[in-house]
Amino acid sequence: MTAVSAPQAMPLQAERSDAQSDAASLPATVVRSYWQSVGYRLRHDPATLVFAAIVLAIVLAAIFAPLIAPYDPLKESIIGRLKPFGWRGHLLGTDDLGRDMLSRLLYGGRVALLMGVVPVLIASAVGGTLGVFGGFVGGWVNTATMRTMDVFYAFPSVLLAVAIAGAMGGGIANGMIALTLVFIPPICRVAETATTQVRSLDFIEAARASGARPLTIIRHHVLGNVLGPVFIYASSLVSVSMLLASGLSFLGLGVRPPTPDWGLMLSTLRQSIWVVPWVCALPGLAIFITSVCFNLVSDGLRAAMDVRM
């Protein structure tokens, strides 16, 4: 059950080709398949397209950082410390150890995106599965699952992430595990709510009346209605995850120096804010732009994927 990657795993839609040939015999009516109509709505939403392009650019820049970066992000320079934009070919200046800011930002994006996406993906799979099964089975199974999740709600998410990462020791892997654990309860709750709503509708009862087993009903009738809300919620968590990861790095619980990471860079450069203010603001700006664009793209996708619009 991969929750986020396949937001609209609808059954019986594999035979799109014959459906289209049926539709072709009726020239008077425009019949689009589901994904065709999603694409159509996306093409007519320029704002989402622009933000998606920015997200894509950030992702590509992170992936191809070794090819794009003008300098080695770890190469220090005693004389070239805290220089402003454009100093001797350093387009975005240098940091407190004289390392090239542009290169470090590009490499830092890799960590930021990894910390943003991976915990959310894992938490969606785990939390989504728990929520869907709990919501569909109902009864004491659901109560036990959701009350367990409620225990996590007793702590603010930042505190919880810091506590778990602190207890396990720092590092990227432990930071990811901490963030995953933080995100499982809210995703589980969204999936459970959506499933409970769907479960009480007559079409689930009709599916049972036609002899379908619970797993078949979940696959064909529940997931299509639950993955949408879960996907939208999860995509909004990507930016939260990036921010929390930056916070962990800032506190020294995430990425360790000298690995470039936006949160860590923000943390170390804040002492130099009076020397080169704009250079020091860059990592924060990168976090801000990436998280805002992720949010806006997920919003646009939600609108495009809603069949009722």
């Binding site: 019986l12 035979e15 009516t29 019949v31 007559d202 009862e205 009709a206 002899g211 064909h220 009722r308």
Partner: protein
Amino acid sequence: MSPAIAAAAPSAAPNGSPTGNPTGSPSGDPRDRGGPRQPLLIATDLHKHFAVKGGRGKVVRAVDGVSFTVRKGETLGVVGESGCGKSTLARLLLHLIAPDTGELVFDGDTVGAPRGIAVSQLRRQVQMVFQDSYSSLNPRMPVRDSVAFGPFVQGARKPEARDIARRMLGQVGLDADLFGPRYPHELSGGQKQRVNIARALATGPRMVVLDEPVSALDKSVEAQVLNLLLDLKHRFGLTYLFISHDLSVVRYIADRVLVMYLGRVVELGPSESLFRRPLHPYTQALLASRPSMDPARRIEEPPISGDPPNPIDPPSGCRFHTRCPFAEAVCAARDPLLPAAVGADAHAADAHAAACHIQDPASGHSLAAHPQAPEAPPLAAAGTLGHA
């Protein structure tokens, strides 16, 4: 829309059975085991109580000892106020909710018994159409996939299921190319209910439980869908259990009618006889509460007032005695029984009986001495005494 389906208003239709041949079973169905005289469905003493949340062991007696038979090829109407257990009864018949106690016999086979048929087998032969045409279709699925789902689940390959869905959409008067790829929100209420009917028929059931299938539709569409149902019944040799609170609709479509009150059957009889001469005071009040088309016969007072008593704690004795204009001491003391012969004996085609002490000369009710029930209840008395 099929032009062959006339849009006749239900009230304009002739009384009684418009389907004819109520006992004739569809010939040639290989699944027919008992022959035409074997009732398709026998329900015996069905009980379903729901626990009340935080009610310390209190239960809602939604269905409380219901017995009846459905004959092959007939339409059995079920009427009653909201909350009387009609929908619970429908769900019990498909084992969507398991009954607490009671027995279901489908074409001679006991459902769920070791030698009978399994629930999964029952669901291959009985299907259901729900009242809410929108929520009974998956909003994220094109309607042809909703129709194809049943055959697919029951073992058809996807292309076959698709074919069946196309055919069934055609059978209910919808162009499969035009409407099949659409989503439920893109269809009107009548079209959605047609899709629901196609979905129910796609698995080839012998009996269809229709739970208020036309209540949410406006009058002209209602008539079209009713005629479609009658048409399909003939075409596929179906048996219907038709639940409704609309007496005109039931009179139009049903061969026999079962009246429910607070989880019990209070009256059961052939449609024509029941509407002409209702035996139970509750049925009489229901019939009198229909708005009259004749201005001279309009009534000021409702013949029955107040809500039904709480099914958590139903009245003692006859459950209707709190609202009944003829209630006497015996009604609060003893529970009147529906004469068992009507429920069990499928051969008594025109048996008509009510669970009322007035119908039982041995009950001690002052009106029971008269062999005939009062033709119509004194309405003013019903209006003043009817408070629960």
